[in-house]
Symmetry: C2
Subunit: 65 residues, 2 copies
């Protein structure tokens, strides 16, 4: 299975684990909508910073006010 782990860089530049086993990601305006392989959903005010699919690693960057 090719689900990925999503990490979030917060407004202070600190990276932490945000969501595991992620299957679907849809960015829309300033929000990123995510769904894991079990159908659990999360969304966050962020943008996609980078994807490294072979490493199963996705990094989001939180959008500050």
């Amino acid at each position: 299975m090719c689900e990925s782990t999503v990490y979030l860089i917060d407004k202070n530049g600190k990276e932490s684990l945000f969501f595991e086993l992620v299957d679907k990601i849809v960015p829309d305006q300033n929000t990123v909508y995510l769904e894991d392989i079990l159908g659990q959903k999360k969304s966050i005010q962020a943008r996609i910073k980078e994807l490294a699919l072979v490493d199963h690693r996705i990094v989001l960057e939180e959008i500050g006010e």
Copy 2:
């Protein structure tokens, strides 16, 4: 391996295959930078529309002027 196939929806709304065996993707402003597992690179004026990782499917949407 968890590389994905990247499809592009062009300015006329038509979807076609853009790049296969993609490992890394970095969106920056209106450009998406991609690299496949062999290190070949492409970039395009587009935004990420959706990722479906378990299906190895990524869709970009071309940005028109």
